[in-house]
């Protein structure tokens, strides 16, 4: 088998690989064959020493599969990961501010609702039914808003915690590289 035949066959074993990556792999093995032959080995011996086309192709496929399992974060360089974390950190800070605002609003709406209900009832006792209905209605609207905000805060907090866990795990993966 000639070097070109080997490279052609290896290429056919890697159909799903991006052409740029495939070229790099083929260049790497072409260089190794050149080095082996320069060291006195025949091309066939060099190919055999490297394990043959099937073994090499399987090894490359396994590596690609492993990379896919590790996911997007693992494929990032440390600098890229730090940049991504910085952006996410800014986002998290903004999210935190929103979370605090929502919590305060929720608390304020809840308190207002509690205060408006006895006020509305007092209007009823005084005979001011329109004002009473308006006030009690307003109290229910505020209570509803408060409840909706409380649910939003709870869900936001829950997803933030899940995101934090994912980020820590990904950071560790990136660090282990």
């Amino acid at each position: 088998m000639t070097k070109l035949e080997f490279l052609k066959e290896l290429g056919t074993h890697l159909p799903s690989m991006a052409s740029e990556d495939k070229k790099k792999v083929l260049d790497y093995y072409a260089e190794l064959i050149d080095d082996y032959t320069e060291d006195g080995l025949s091309v066939d011996d060099a190919i055999e020493k490297m394990g043959g086309v099937d073994t090499i192709a399987n090894s490359i496929k396994n590596e690609i599969a492993q990379k896919k399992r590790n996911g997007f974060i693992s494929s990032l360089s440390k600098t890229a990961f730090v940049s991504l974390c910085t952006l996410l950190g800014i986002g998290a800070f903004a999210g935190g501010v929103v979370l605090i605002c929502l919590s305060v609003s929720c608390f304020a709406f809840g308190l207002s609702a509690i205060a408006l209900i006895p006020t509305g009832i007092a209007f009823f006792f005084k005979g001011a039914f329109a004002a009473g209905f308006f006030t009690v209605g307003g109290a229910f609207v505020l209570a509803g808003l408060s409840l909706a905000l409380a649910v939003s805060v709870f869900l936001l907090f829950k997803y933030c915690r899940a995101f934090r866990r994912w980020l820590l795990k990904s950071g560790k993966e990136c660090d282990d590289k």
């Binding site: 792999v25 260049d27 790497y28 093995y29 260089e31 190794l32 050149d34 080095d35 082996y36 320069e38 060291d39 490297m50 394990g51 073994t55 090499i56 090894s59 490359i60 590596e63 494929s75 360089s77 440390k78 600098t79 590289k177």
Partner: protein, 108 residues
């Protein structure tokens, strides 16, 4: 050797192989042979991984009328080797703890 330990050591060994001077794939495999058997197909993903982690850089240079890729360790790569040396002290402490009393057992 345990596959996980070997995997961790291979990265370090490849960095160590290019610590003093730039080197190329074939030479790295030959240099590491006395310490740990490494196949050509194993080396390639390690080199790609180390490059992605910015622990080494690659340049092409002409050699006997063809291009050969040379790998150069970066500052981060050197720091990684220093960190490994520090971590190894810890590993040795664990090793000593695990193997404690074995000499006495052997003598008995």
């Amino acid at each position: 050797m345990d596959a996980q330990i070997k995997r961790g050591l291979l990265d370090i060994l490849v960095l160590a192989a290019i610590k003093d001077e730039d080197s190329y794939g074939y030479s790295i495999i030959k240099d590491l042979k006395p310490y740990l058997e490494i196949s050509e197909s194993t080396l390639y993903p390690i080199l790609k991984r180390l490059e992605a982690a910015e622990l080494l850089t690659v340049r092409s240079a002409e050699h006997n009328g063809r291009l050969r890729k040379y790998y150069k360790i970066t500052k981060a790569g050197l720091l990684r080797l220093d960190a490994f040396a520090d971590e190894w002290q810890e590993v040795m402490r664990i090793y000593n703890y695990v193997t404690r009393g074995e000499d006495k057992n052997d003598e008995a």
